[in-house]
Symmetry: C2
DNA sequence: CGCTGTGGTTAGAACCTCTAACCCAAGAAT
DNA sequence: ATTCTTGGGTTAGAGGTTCTAACCACAGCG
């Protein structure tokens, strides 16, 4: 009976993959405890029973390790959003939006430092590699399907107009929207999703930074109010 | 004719204050260039023509310097908000809200790294000293006066109810609200301000982190739409 | 069975923050 | 005016970081 690892690999490769996973696990633990700047390769190595420079056989630089953790984080967030969307697939759009927002926040507060790793201040000279944008889109994707059911009014019309320009300029974006909201106006879905994204990030990032300390933890209430207001403004049924 | 410095100080004190100001100026320059983690006391000292440990005669630790820069940043933001509020004092509330939002964003994008210093991921083991919360409140203060003119509906009612608890628990908060919105329902003003704060931070923090890259810089449009939506939801006249 | 390559080591360079000890001169006190 | 004190600035150094270079030893391959 072969184990979970890919069977068509040499023992060396399997060992390498396992050690890489252990390193990432230990690094995540450090980040969970003290945030991204507290991630020390030396300490990670020591925790695994080896010395500092050994890690450089597995990751080119410290930033490469961070990049992989960021990608994993995006994947985890996307998975959380996806399961929330599936679970509420039959609910009316308004409830689906709330379910997605709750899932987003739950994932973020579960490990705040990881959220800040993705959506917080970027590292010193760190430049997000291009593969992260696709993963970020996967996180927001489920929102497209929900908010495509609404429509824009008032000042949101101007936003929607700019979204049309963006859609025309970037085929990748258009395809992304189409794949998540096949039979909706892409610009409307996009305008609603960008708005929801900004609101989610606003509420959640303030929460994970502890800025709500002493207010009684009202983050859930604020988030709900924000999403209800968005649903109202876009006329989401439910 | 005496210079601008306080005349009742010894030459030593005046010199000390001047050097402290120069250090902070140079440190700000470094942060503007590379963000908070790029702030190196050694480099700052070298830039001023002295050696590293000399700075420890002026600031206890690196974090102390950061704290002072953060306080200065809050003061600058509060000043920007205040002048915007004064300039639009006679306009209807809706326009005042927009003016405040524009001022907030303008100050943030002017030096993004400073904004991230205040509202971004906190430093490694950095704990915000209590004096920063007062300064943060000064930034948001002008919003209270504007949003106190509205009222809450729908899901915002629940938020307002929690604000009442918070007001009852914390006299400092109540006094803060009263001082900026004397003849308004405090809970309403507070609920609106917290909502506006989260939306401002959501839009602006995504912008200063460069997450909007390639969308055509629509941050201004999104911000306007968010504030108009808030004004609509709270029934702000204008 | 031997060769190669990979994982691991130590050594070290170049940074960083921060402390300790010392020096010297400007200002204060007498 | 001279002495004393104090505070700015220095060098030295401890302990930390990332990351490179050189080397060793063994696992797994042909």
């Amino acid at each position: 009976m072969p184990d979970g690892s890919s069977s068509t690999s040499t023992p060396r490769q399997r060992y390498r993959e396992q050690v890489r996973a252990e390193i990432k696990e230990a690094a995540l633990e450090q980040i969970r405890a003290g945030g991204a700047p507290a991630l020390s390769l030396n300490a990670v190595a020591k925790g695994l029973g080896l010395t500092g420079p050994a890690l450089y056989k597995y990751f080119g630089k410290r930033d490469d390790l961070l990049t992989e953790l960021i990608c994993d984080g995006y994947d985890a967030a996307a998975a959380a959003m996806r399961t929330a969307a599936d679970r509420a697939a039959d609910a009316p759009p308004r409830e689906r939006l709330l379910a997605l927002a709750v899932a987003f926040r739950a994932w973020a507060v579960e490990s705040p430092h990881v959220y800040q790793l993705l959506a917080g201040t970027p590292s010193p000279g760190y430049h997000a590699p291009p593969e992260t944008v696709d993963r970020a889109r996967a996180v927001l994707g489920p929102l497209l399907g929900v908010l495509g059911r609404g429509d824009c009014r008032g000042a949101a019309l101007e936003l929607r107009a700019e979204m049309r320009f963006w859609l025309n300029d970037s085929p990748a974006v258009e395809e992304w929207v189409k794949s998540w909201a096949p039979d909706a106006d892409p610009a409307t879905a996009l305008a609603g999703t960008v708005t929801a994204w900004a609101r989610l990030h606003g509420v959640v990032s303030l929460e994970v930074q502890g800025l709500y300390a002493g207010m009684g933890h009202r983050a859930g209430t604020l988030l709900k109010a924000e999403m209800e207001a968005l649903a109202d403004a876009m006329g989401l049924p439910g």
